[in-house]
Each structure stands twice: as structure tokens, then as C-alpha cells.
């Protein structure tokens, strides 16, 4: 762990990743203190200052009802991060367990579980999440549900592939010979060998969950106003391009910065932990 961190900081690219992610997380945590206009996260209207180009004190300009875009981005980060953590906290255990079971038992169990996984994987992720969101009320909790439903199969695939190759390794066979139960073999012997790959994927995915969630709200199927959300900010501003460019460019760059940060760290972790795709 210590070694991993010191390697992360030594490489300029992954150091940049650490800095970006730290900035995003800290600004989300301390949004109440950093945001120049904390009240602008809600349904505030200030027509005297609407649609202003970036100028002090509105460093990223104001939106069509006069709210400070910088403040809204900080609060949008908060919601995005919560969503990312919750989605992974539910999707990863489900996906990993299914992958372990399918890979270990093989036969009919494998066939049925993996075909179900295939079904989920053969609907484009965004389309699946869209159709789930379409039938549910657009709330934050339902957004999490929709993204979770499309996310677990990727972990199943990853863990299934590892389990299949570990299944015939000496240490697994040895454990079975001395009478270890399947439960022990799966969770105590095989699972630890999946951890590096799963952790790497989780780091990358925190960024990608933010990305998909913003895509949903861009289409109007995510968190509803007045709650600040990066995707819907881009969608609302896109009609006013190119004149009011700040309405779209800053929220768009905000997504890019956060996801890029997680990608830089995940990429470096993949090299360090030697985890495969």
C-alpha cells in the first residue's frame, strides 16, 4: 500500500491524477466554504445578473437565471461523487460474486449465469440505463438504480475470466484436496487474486460512473432541476452556443477534469498492480 502510493506520486502523470482527484473530492466536501454563492445550488433567481460572461465575482459566468456556475459545479461534484460511490458499492459485490460462482462451479451454473450477463452486456449501457430511467421517476435514487443495473455485469465478466484461469492452479486444487469447502475456496483462495484487477477497475469506473450519470441527465433522464448536475447544465446551455459558451464549456470541462483524474490514477494502478484489462 505504502509502496503503491509512493510510486503514484513519483510519476508526473499519476501525480497529476492524484492532484485532480484530490481537488475534486475536497471541493465537493467543502463546497459550503468554497462556493462564493452557496445558495445558488437551489432554485434561486437573480435576473439582474443573468447570463453573464465570466467576470469577478462570477469566475465562470452565470446561467440563464443568474446563478453562479462555479458554485453550481462544486455542488454538482458532490452529487456525482456520492452517486459513483453508491453505485460501485452495490454493483461490485454483486458482479464479483456472480463471476466467482460462475467461474468456479462451471457447467450449467456457468452457462446460465454467463448468458444472463451476456443479455445485459448486449444492450448498449446508456440505452439500458435510459430505458430503466424512462419507466421510473427521475430521482437521484432511481438514477443510481439504473446505473447499477447496467454496471454489475462488467465485474462479472472480469472476475469470471480470472476465476476460470485460477480454478486449475495448484493452490486451488491443493485446498480442494484437503477438503476445503467451495465457500472457502471461492472467497478465501480465489477472491484475493481478483482484488488487484477489481480495485483498478473500480478506480477507473468512479470516473466512468460520473460520465454515464452525466450522460443520462444530459438527455433529461437524470437528476431534476433545481439540483445542480453537470450533464443537465451542458444540455441547457447547448442551445445558446456559441454566444453564451460558458454555460456549456465549464460544466463540460468539469466532467473532463474529474474523469481524467480518475483515469490517470487507474491507469497507473494498472501498471503497478499488473492487473489486466
Amino acid at each position: 500500500m505504502k509502496r503503491t502510493i509512493s510510486i503514484l506520486i513519483a510519476n508526473p502523470l499519476s501525480l497529476l491524477g492524484v492532484v485532480l482527484v484530490a481537488t475534486v473530492v475536497l471541493s465537493a466536501l467543502f463546497a459550503d466554504f468554497i462556493a462564493p454563492f452557496p445558495e445558488h445550488r437551489g432554485a434561486v433567481v437573480d435576473f439582474a445578473n443573468f447570463n453573464k460572461a465570466p467576470e469577478w465575482p462570477y469566475i465562470m459566468g452565470t446561467d440563464l437565471v443568474g446563478r453562479d456556475i462555479f458554485s453550481r459545479i462544486l455542488y454538482a461534484y458532490r452529487i456525482s461523487l456520492i452517486l459513483g460511490v453508491v453505485v460501485l458499492a452495490i454493483a461490485v459485490p454483486i458482479g464479483v460474486t456472480v463471476g466467482l460462482v460462475a467461474g468456479y462451479f462451471g457447467g450449467w451454473t456457468e452457462y446460465v449465469l454467463m448468458r444472463i450477463t451476456d443479455i445485459f452486456l448486449s444492450i448498449p449501457p446508456l440505452v439500458l440505463a435510459m430505458s430503466i430511467m424512462g419507466v421510473l421517476e427521475p430521482t437521484l435514487a432511481n438514477g443510481m438504480l439504473a446505473v447499477t443495473v447496467m454496471w454489475w455485469p462488467w465485474y462479472t465478466r472480469l472476475v469470471y475470466n480470472i476465476t476460470r484461469s485460477e480454478r486449475e492452479e495448484g493452490y486451488v486444487l491443493a485446498a480442494e484436496v484437503i477438503g476445503a469447502s467451495p465457500l472457502h475456496v471461492i472467497f478465501r483462495e480465489i477472491l484475493p487474486n481478483c482484488v488487484p484487477a477489481v480495485v483498478t477497475k473500480m478506480t477507473l469506473d468512479l470516473g466512468f460512473v460520473i460520465l454515464i450519470a452525466s450522460s443520462l441527465s444530459f438527455l433529461g433522464l437524470g437528476v431534476q432541476p433545481p439540483t445542480p448536475d453537470l450533464g443537465s447544465m451542458v444540455a441547457d446551455g447547448a442551445k445558446y452556443l456559441p454566444d453564451s459558451w460558458w454555460l456549456t464549456v465549464f460544466p463540460g470541462l468539469a466532467i473532463l477534469v474529474a474523469v481524467f483524474g480518475f483515469n490517470l490514477i487507474g491507469d497507473a494502478l494498472r501498471d503497478i498492480l499488473g492487473a489486466d484489462q
Binding site: R115, P124, L126, M130, S131, G134, V135, G252, V259
Partner: protein
């Protein structure tokens, strides 16, 4: 040829099974809609009798599995039902909007291969150097933003500030092209109108590139990773000791084994692009499935939602079968008993 025919029939069978599963899944999702779809379709002014009549016509009062039976029976006859939003058969609607989306996705897929693979080769050949690091940063940036953000950025730079490309649409209004395939790049050629072809190609560059960027990033990274591994192999060392030029070693010997995993990822990315096309279409006012798809979802138009998702999944499965066949064709020792994943 025999093993490939066997592979094809096996993959077709599995794909049909998966498609059957998709239809069940999406049907189940569409039927848990809160509220009465018949009431939503007819609007608040309809009488109770009218709503009841539509419910009966749509079999909404039967149990779900009976409804699914009706649906499956219609599906086998190529009937996806009538859209409650446009009042036309869903198949007609999809046939109208799908070609524009597919055209966009195919061009983006082409860009992904034509740009991503060479960049990956370059990166692996000069690994650790400046070119490698530049490519690494660019490919990471590519996957780090949703395609609608790239669409906005590309549009601002290359359509507004530098007016090189058009801002919206598929083709200028002055051209009228007879629709044969629905693919404008093909139809203009069939009509023999090369100016129109150029115009359509000019329109598709920016949206397709915005859509392709994340795929380019992934294809690059994967090709690089696989080639770096291949470079450690003894046969590369032997090629070096023979004094073969670096370019030939990279393009011929190191690249070939890396092509197979790259192709697999390209197949998967195709699925992502079919979804992401919705985002790019919204920015560039591309007349594809996007507006229709979002509209039917917001209006809880059951038949149209199920039909759209089913067609998109079928397209994805077909592309993946093609990718699998390509891989089987390239790789002589492919393990036919196993699904490559």
C-alpha cells in the same frame, strides 16, 4: 472453411438466445411503468370507455406472460406494434431514423480503427519517448469526457471559431437525394451525385469524430499494451537480430498478434457508440434515432421503447458476430470450442 461455418452457426444460435433474453428483460422493464400507458397515450380528455378499449386492444388487462406471448408472436411476424407517440408502426419509425444513426456509428467505427490502431503502433514502437507520452495523454483525455462534451468542444472550435465544418444536419438543404438505403454516403453515390456525397461526408466528420474519440482512446491504449507485451517475445528479438527495419518489425510481426484483442474491444465499443450516438445527435441536430428514442422514453411509449432497444441490441449482436468471424479468419489457431472474450 468448415470450422468457420461451425463457428458462425454456433454464434448465431447463442446470439438468438441472447436476443430472446433481451426481449424478455426489456419487456419486463417496460411493463413496470407506473401509470396507465393507454391513458398517457390518449391524453386527459379521453373517456373511460376509450381508455378501456385501448387497454383491451393492447392486451394490457392480461397477465404479463400472456402479454409477452402476444408480443413474441407479433415479433416473429416482424411486427413491433404501433407507436403510441407517432401512431405509426414502430418498424416504420425505426426504419426512418435508424440509418442516420448507423451511418454515424459506422463512420465513427472506421475512424476508431483508422486512427486508434496506428497511434497504438506508434506508441508501442517508441515507448517511453515523447510520442508515446503524448499519445498516452491524448488517448486518456479521449476516454475522459462523454461524447456530448467532445461534440460541444469540437463544434465551438471547428464550426464556430474556425468555420471549417457545418454546425448541424446531415446534408445541405439544396440537395435532394432519393433514399435507397437511407445511408446518405451510399445513396449519393448511387445517384452518381459526387458533390452531394462530398457535402454529406463534410457534414459527418465532426459528429463522427466526437463519437469516435473515446473509442480511439481505448483502441490506442489496448493496441499499445498488447504490442509492448509482444515486443518481449523471442521471435521479435530474432527479427531484430536479422537486422529487419524497426518499421517492418512493428507493422508486420509485433502488430499482428495484438490485432485480435483490439478487434474484440472494437466490437464492444460499437455497443457503447450505439448508445453514445444519442448524445452526439442531440448536439449536432443529427436526424437519427436519438430524438425519437428520448421522446418515446419520456412519453412512456411501450412498443416504441421495446422496439428501439431490441433493434439496437440486434445490431450490436450482428456486429459482434462479424467481429468474431474476422478474428477467426485472422487467427488460424482460434479455439473454436471457446467463446473468445
Amino acid at each position: 472453411m468448415m470450422p468457420i461455418a461451425r463457428l458462425l452457426s454456433k454464434r448465431l444460435g447463442t446470439s438468438l438466445l441472447v436476443l430472446f433474453g433481451v426481449s424478455m428483460l426489456i419487456f419486463a422493464i417496460a411493463r413496470i411503468i407506473p401509470g396507465d400507458p393507454a391513458r398517457i397515450a390518449l391524453g386527459p380528455n379521453a373517456t373511460t370507455e376509450q381508455v378501456a378499449a385501448l387497454r383491451a386492444a393492447l392486451h394490457l388487462d392480461d397477465p404479463v406472460w400472456i402479454q409477452y406471448g402476444y408480443f413474441l408472436g407479433d415479433l416473429l411476424r416482424g411486427d413491433l406494434g404501433v407507436s403510441l407517440y407517432t401512431n405509426r408502426p414502430v418498424t416504420t419509425d425505426i426504419a426512418q431514423f435508424l440509418p442516420a444513426t448507423l451511418e454515424l456509428v459506422f463512420v465513427a467505427g472506421f475512424m476508431m480503427v483508422a486512427i486508434g490502431l496506428p497511434l497504438g503502433i506508434l506508441s508501442a514502437r517508441y515507448r517511453g519517448g515523447i510520442a508515446d507520452n503524448m499519445v498516452r495523454i491524448v488517448s486518456l483525455l479521449g476516454v475522459s469526457a462523454p461524447s456530448f462534451v467532445w461534440a460541444v468542444i469540437l463544434m465551438l472550435i471547428f464550426a464556430f471559431y474556425l468555420p471549417l465544418f457545418p454546425v448541424a444536419g446531415r446534408i445541405s438543404d439544396s440537395y435532394s437525394i432519393q433514399a435507397v438505403t437511407g445511408f446518405l454516403l451510399v445513396d449519393t453515390l448511387i445517384a452518381g451525385n459526387f458533390r452531394a456525397f462530398g457535402n454529406a461526408a463534410w457534414h459527418i466528420v465532426l459528429p463522427a469524430f466526437a463519437l469516435a474519440l473515446s473509442g480511439i482512446g481505448q483502441a490506442t491504449r489496448l493496441t499499445r499494451a498488447n504490442m509492448v507485451e509482444t515486443y518481449e517475445r523471442p521471435y521479435i528479438e530474432m527479427a531484430r537480430s536479422y537486422g529487419f527495419p524497426g518499421k517492418r518489425i512493428a507493422n508486420r510481426y509485433a502488430f499482428k498478434p495484438s490485432l485480435i484483442p483490439s478487434l474484440t474491444i472494437i466490437g464492444l465499443d460499437f455497443a457503447a457508440m450505439l448508445g453514445n450516438a444519442f448524445l452526439v445527435e442531440a448536439i449536432f441536430a443529427w436526424p437519427g434515432l436519438s430524438r425519437y428514442g428520448v421522446a418515446v422514453i419520456l412519453r412512456k411509449d411501450l412498443n416504441a421503447i421495446v422496439g428501439t432497444v431490441l433493434i439496437i441490441s440486434a445490431t450490436f449482436l450482428i456486429v459482434n458476430i462479424i467481429v468474431d468471424l474476422l478474428i477467426a479468419f485472422i487467427n488460424p489457431r482460434i479455439r473454436l470450442s471457446q467463446r473468445s472474450s
